[in-house]
Amino acid sequence: MTYIKSRSFFLSLILLSASFAHAKEEEKKQSLQEEITEYIYHHVQDSHDFSLFSTKDKKTGEKIYYGFPLPVILVDEGIKFFMSSKLDHGKKVVESSGKFYKLYHGKIYETNQEGKISYDEEGEVTNLKPLDLSITKSVFSILLVSMLMFMLFTSLAKSYKENNQIAKGVGRFFEPIVILIRDEIAIPSIGENNYKKYMSFLLTLFFFIWFLNLLGLSPLGVNVTGNIAVTFGLALITFLITNLTANKTYWKHIFWMPGVPVWLKPLLAPIELLGVFIKPFSLMIRLYANILAGHIVLYSLIGLIFIFKNLVGSSLSLVLVFFISIIEVLVALLQAYIFTLLSALYFGFAVQEDDH
């Protein structure tokens, strides 16, 4: 929902800026807008190499990327491994043990030696796609955040031992958050008796989402939690934990709802069953849409600075970017909190005792 809203917001901003444009510069601006749109689209997608920024070659007009390559791993009759620099942002065809691969719109396709991409009538690519298990920019960021979390929280655990049960250093900041998740999310949602077995997941989940959200706001320009594959993975684990740890009461509430007339019970069952899937689905979409929307809005506003190209408009956009950035910092925390809280609530439903 937020995603759609932000899209339309973005479009209206573009239209607004377009109406300001003089007739002469119309064409030039159009191309700038296209470039910005393309840039944003590019940014919110995952990529096979970690490019920090890019410039345009003045003579040839070709883009030059600055960054570092990441390993590409393809499963296609055995495992193919090469560095993403070989793909050269889709300009080159890579040969790996007798097969040829080409990067096309962010995806790796199997091609012939010339790198021919063929299409069907609807304009869809018909080339074969190998299973792509590359360490992409997002995977790299996830690894980075995971290592950071591991170091951070093992050091907190260690500092307790060294400092007589009192946190030291950066742990001083994170310890109250750990306690907050236990006291404000886990215990009220799940209950005093059952909360302990979910704590590891809830704590990991919260910090994982939060840190990745914040990393997404950094100038590194990664968009991990705004990627549906990532949020799908997180929601899937919540779904699995909910249904694998659920007790009899939970299933009884789904298939044979107590406390309603008998004729209503079979009618409620499919609705409740649907709810089992909708709950984690909403988790997935909420996080994905919020983060993606935030990124698109931010990038659009930054793009506006270049579209306006005058003191008033650009500085206004800059102020707007500043405020939206602050809001996004808040959203980063809020979305992590909401995802964790709702997961805890679903676990709470799964283990609640029959008290009717």
């Binding site: 792509d132 590891s200 990991t204 994982f208």
Partner: protein, 167 residues
Amino acid sequence: MEKLISEFSSGLFFWQTLIFVTLIFLLRKFAWKPILDTINEREKSIRDSLDSAKEAKKEMESLQAENKKILQEARAESDAMINQAKQSGKELVEKAKSDARSEAENILAQARTSIENEKRSAMNEIKNQVADLSIDIASKVLEQELDDDKSHQEYIDKLLKEKKFDQ
């Protein structure tokens, strides 16, 4: 929706899920368990310390109350003892007084009887002496006159016989 599905990157999903699940297990072992255990332990020790402080306070209060009670009891006891002592002292004095009074009365009565006896014996003595003296004097007087008059001697004898001292 179609776009979402077509853009879904199974590679990213694979890595994300793998890394995330590994991270959960690693952190559970090396971070969350020790951290939560420590926090729980610390909270428990704080709660226990507060409880024991409360207990100690209560104990002290009860001790103070007991002390007060003991003090009051002691005071009451000493008061009672003093009162008793006063009472018995008074009784003693009272008894001594009454004893002394009765003794004095006895002594007085004895004295009275012995005085009476003395008086009586003294009277007898006096009577005898007076009689002797009177006889002496009278005989001296009569000796001169009765030398010649024999009848006078007779008369006196007769008188003496008549006038016998009683007692």
